[in-house]
């Protein structure tokens, strides 16, 4: 998958296939051994995933910061621990600064300290080479599921944020107080406005942020930092 510079280009059959693959999942494979790289890519592609291969962590870091058009879909990284220059653990910690992409680490020697620091760094799984296909597929599926989950969560949060942004100052205030457990009369008394006005604003706010009842309102207030 190359970064594409053109704004428009005709949709080809391979694009369609890639889009399908990406929808299923995109796996970034990083290993300094080209043989392993191509074998893993073949295996993952066979199972219908899209693959990007990099022979070093630095070459991936160079690409990851470019904004490049990508087909939507979950994504994870499968990376070797022992590599010259930048090793897998360092890549993991660098990525953690700006990305929440799930990372799978693999290593030839099952060093306990390595595995511990991998999990501390937030790795989804730590695989020992040689990796059995079933184990790899299960780990990749798990990582992609986490990616989907994070993606959905991000999406929900962003819609929530736009909804919250559409509230007026008064509506936000009243929704906030309602979520905090104040009754309508108490809010009216505190703000010095009519009870009817409070009810109206509260009704509008709940409609705008898509809350059906007070429980929804409280949850959204927690999640969306009302």
């Amino acid at each position: 998958m190359k970064p594409q510079t053109k704004h428009r280009h005709s949709v080809t059959l391979s694009d369609c296939e890639l889009a399908t693959r990406c929808a299923r999942g995109r796996v970034v494979i990083i290993d300094d051994d080209t043989e392993i790289l191509s074998a893993l890519a073949a295996l993952l592609e066979f199972f219908g995933y899209a693959c990007e291969t990099y022979s070093s962590a630095t070459s991936y870091l160079q690409v990851v910061n470019y904004i490049r058009p990508l087909f939507p879909g979950p994504c994870c990284i499968l990376c070797d621990v022992k590599m010259p220059e930048l090793d897998g653990l360092e890549l993991q910690s660098r990525l953690a600064e700006f990305d929440d992409i799930p990372v799978l680490l693999m290593s030839g020697s099952s060093g306990v300290p390595e595995a511990v620091s991998a999990f501390h760094g937030g790795a989804v799984d730590f695989l020992t080479k040689p990796i059995h296909g079933d184990v790899l597929m299960a780990a990749v599926a798990k990582a992609l599921a986490i990616s989907t989950l994070r993606c959905n969560q991000r999406e929900r949060q962003s819609t929530l944020a736009t909804r919250i942004a559409s509230l007026t100052e008064r509506e936000r205030d009243i929704a906030h107080r309602a979520a905090a457990g104040q009754t309508n009369p108490a809010i009216a008394a505190e703000l010095g406005i009519a009870l009817r006005t409070v009810k109206l604003h509260r009704q509008r706010a709940m409609e705008k942020i898509g809350a059906n009842n007070i429980a929804d309102l409280i949850r959204i207030a927690d999640e969306g930092k009302l």
């Binding site: 043989e35 295996l43 066979f46 022992k82 220059e85 290593s107 030839g108 020697s109 040689p130 296909g133």
Partner: protein, 466 residues
Amino acid sequence: MMGLDIRTAFLIIGLLYLLLPTVAWLVLAGQRTKQVALWCGGGLLVGGAAILVGSRESIPEWISISLTGSMFRISMLIRIQSLRLDLGVPWPWRWVILAELAMFLIFNSIHYGLHNDVLRAEFNSGVLAGLLFHLVLLAWRIGRDEQSRSAKWIASVYGLVATAILYRLFSLIRGSGFTNVLHEGMSSQTLALSLLLASIVGHFGYVGLALDRSMRRELKATAEKARDEENRRLGEMIAHLDRQRSLGELSASLGHELNQPLTAILTNAQVAKQGLQVGYFDNNQLGEFLDKIVHNTERAGHIIERIRGFIKPSVSRSMTVNLNRVICEVAELVLDEARRCKVTIILPSLSASVLVAGDPIQLSQIILNVLRNAIEAVTPMARREIQIVCSRVKSRAIVRIYDTGPGLTPELLAKAGTPFFTTKPNGLGLGISISQSIAVQHGGALTFANAQDGSGAIVELNLPAQ
């Protein structure tokens, strides 16, 4: 007192002294040294002189008196010189000649100038007794030093002759002796008897001494050879153990190194198998997967071959070795360790060949030990680089290993290669010392230095090129 006809006795003694040194010379054919030649030569001179004495009445006086006197003295002198050479304290030949000249002058001036036969006989007896006692002393010292019974026999029998001559000297002084040694008398009889005994015991004793020595020499040489052999065998064993230890320490990274091709093999096999079940791949694609499996299997086999080649208990053999190849093969063993420590190793090009005669395993052991030390040295540094340069300068093959480590302190430079000297907490301190002895066995040297600009250490392996 007519037990022995003195004239006949002297003739017999003369013949014995001619015969026995010749026999001794023939027996000692294997170990003829300057000392043996002098001893036998001295014997022949005595023989000649004794025959001349025995036939004194029918030859001119200057021969029977002057010449025989000189012959006796010279024979004693060169026999003394023979023993002194054995003991390692020879007299300068110049002094020997001067001494004989002086004695010759005194002897002849007494005889021809003073016409004093008694004084001449006394002088001659005194000189000969003195020389003989010196000979006895020397023989006794050899007997004591070498614990040789033969030498002590020689000393005893010549002691007897010397005593007989002394007895004659005292008879002369007392006036009861005769100036002519052939005159039948107690002193002459004793002298003749002791000479007869000395001719036999002296020569057999000398042959015994020489044989003793050669046997001891052989024993010593055999023992030395056995010790050398033992040392060589032990050296090989130590070198082998060092290789095993190195590999033991490298085992984790070698395991990782082996895992790489195995991972590729397993993954490729799984893709092919899965694809085969659903008919996903065509034959060409399946062939490609199989090719990859074959290739990676060879890769794994290659690594195992390296390990086995290195660990093989080898009796050192000498063959033509391409140092560049040895270096590249050893580098494969430390490749993973270098990768883990993020060290870049710059190898010489495999296309060039620098040939030496030696044992490939032992030579690779040197390179491995040096390389591992270098990796350890550069690991804490910001710039981690090791460069190996292999070249041929005139008749020498030179491998230089440059690293970007902190270099060696003067103390390290002085102590590097001392057995059991180590800077590592769990090191044995044998790697470099073993490497150095291997280099020396190959007629070369392994030396350590720091770069002129302080950019690290330089290890040089210098071997005779082929």
